[in-house]
């Protein structure tokens, strides 16, 4: 937007929202919204503590392992589906189903099978992330120009060569989009998992704060989470735009 001929960056509007929040908080309109400034002060108070750090570390570990598994499993499955009609037709209904199914209903199952610990949280993360990664890798491979695939065949590449040298690269724009969306989902998964398990990581902190009515602490925690979630999403978005030209040769 332009004001008096000066281009104001989009993200600047977040500052206005912060000011509105501060005013609402100062007027004590809702117990849900303590003043913005108090939350920021609280944030600097709790972030250096050991409890926070260990909770953050558990969350980061679960997120990284879960997303890693989802990527390592998701991309090859997606590429296979893109290349083989039989596999595609057998797996696609499941992928679509899990993409729109309420995965939270499965977390109790994971808890009964794997206990109330990081294992369940990691698996929840995988469940949230993997389907979109599969679907996008599949779409990417399906979008590869036919002549590129024919070129690969005409030079007698075996499947492994074709997979590592052509398919993954030619489908990279979609694969990266899948990874980005997968990461956004796995951030949600890792938090939902912790909320339901509620004895480790941030889940335990949430319990602690809400049991003691510490609204400012809760928001401070949320701000940290939102900040990292946004950072991950935007970072991957930038990466994705860098490789957009891999799809440029498609008609």
């Amino acid at each position: 937007m332009n004001i008096f001929g000066i281009k104001i960056p989009m993200m600047a509007s977040l500052l206005i929202w912060a000011v509105v929040w501060e005013i609402v908080g100062q007027l004590e309109l809702s117990i849900l919204l303590p003043p913005f400034s108090h939350i920021i002060i609280r944030l600097f108070e709790i972030v250096p503590t050991a409890t926070f750090f260990s909770a953050f570390w558990i969350t980061a570990k679960c997120f990284l392992i879960g997303t890693g598994i989802a990527i390592i499993v998701g991309i090859p499955v997606g590429v296979l589906m893109g290349r083989s009609i039989v596999i595609d037709r057998m797996l696609l209904p499941w992928v679509n189903m899990f993409l729109s199914a309420p995965l939270t209903a499965l977390v109790p199952v994971l808890m009964t099978l794997f206990g109330f610990g990081t294992k369940t949280i990691i698996l929840t993360t995988v469940l949230f992330a993997v389907w979109i990664i599969v679907l996008d890798a599949r779409a990417g491979v399906k979008n590869i120009t036919p002549s590129l695939i024919e070129m690969t065949k005409s030079f007698q590449a075996n499947f492994w060569q074709a997979f590592t040298m052509v398919y993954v690269w030619a489908a990279l724009p979609e694969i990266l989009a899948g990874i980005r969306l997968g990461c956004i989902r796995s951030v949600k998964g890792v938090i939902i998992g912790q909320l339901l398990v509620s004895v480790v990581g941030f889940g335990r902190l949430f319990e602690l704060y809400s049991a003691n009515f510490l609204m400012e602490h809760m928001w401070a925690l949320l701000f940290v989470l939102f900040f990292f979630a946004f950072l991950i999403a935007e970072g991957l978005g930038i990466l994705e735009r860098k490789f957009e030209y891999y799809a440029a040769s498609r008609g």
Partner: protein, 254 residues
């Protein structure tokens, strides 16, 4: 013969059979005492459907879900379309929803419970915070990316702003808006179940946690199976309504 084996329906049936068989096998090993077989789960499902214990819990799950989805859809589409049409609204709103879209908003649930108690309001709001961002952002980007030539066409044939919005921009955006509604509905289901597991056990969430607590795992699995099947069906129906109301071109070729 090979065309029969490659037919989509054959393969779909085959994959369902393989999955069910695999489930049955895992249940019979058994991998865990808390893991019922496929057949046990299905018979529990049949029993719960027959004695009405399953059907009776659905209204409780559905109430916050539907109210929440309706609020999120109306509010979300309105905000999204407004942001797509108006530069000021875009500048003001888009960053907020971009942040909210990537944020794990489920973490707000303890706050909502804290502020609004354990009743219906908290559950409706849970559905709303999960569903709204994706609906807003889809509507926004769909409207924002209406093909320029289509809008120029409306202008050159002297369409009023209202005509261009109603006859060109909204129908052109409708597939992506609908995609947002589908994603929003999926997130809404996630939120509704999460609320039932986290805030107070009611509806299908109660059925899951209760049967879990008394170790009736076949019934627990049956409840989970039913809500997942139900969600998929619900979203499928939503998709059909789009073809019916907005895109006659897709309906004809179906």
């Amino acid at each position: 013969m090979s065309t029969f084996f490659k037919h989509p329906l054959t393969l779909r049936l085959l994959s369902v059979l393989i999955a069910a068989g695999f489930w049955e096998y895992l249940g019979r090993i058994p991998i865990s005492p808390a893991f019922p077989t496929f057949l046990q789960t299905m018979s529990a499902l049949g029993g719960m459907l027959a004695d009405g214990s399953m059907v009776s819990v659905y209204p409780a799950t559905f109430q916050p879900l539907l109210i929440g989805l309706i609020i999120s859809s109306v509010f979300g589409i309105f905000c999204g379309v407004l942001m797509g049409l108006n530069v000021k609204a875009e500048w003001f709103g888009a960053p907020l929803f971009i942040v909210l879209q990537s944020a794990p908003l489920a973490a707000l649930i303890p706050l909502l419970t804290f502020a609004y108690g354990i009743g219906l309001t908290s559950k409706i709001l849970t559905v709303c915070i999960m569903a709204t961002p994706v609906i807003v952002l889809n509507a926004y980007s769909a409207v924002r990316h209406t093909p320029t030539s289509m809008i120029e066409m409306g202008q050159s044939y002297l369409g009023s702003n209202l005509q261009i919005i109603m006859k060109i921009i909204i129908p052109a955006a409708s597939p992506v808006i609908y995609a947002g509604l589908r994603l929003g509905a999926a997130m809404g289901f996630i939120g509704a179940i999460l609320a039932e597991l986290l805030i107070t056990p009611t509806g299908i969430g109660d059925l899951i946690t209760y049967n879990q607590s008394i170790a009736e795992y076949d019934k627990m699995y049956a409840a989970i199976f039913s809500i997942m099947a139900f969600a998929v069906l619900f979203i499928e129906i939503l998709e059909r309504t789009e073809y019916m109301f907005f895109r006659p071109d897709k309906r004809v070729t179906q």
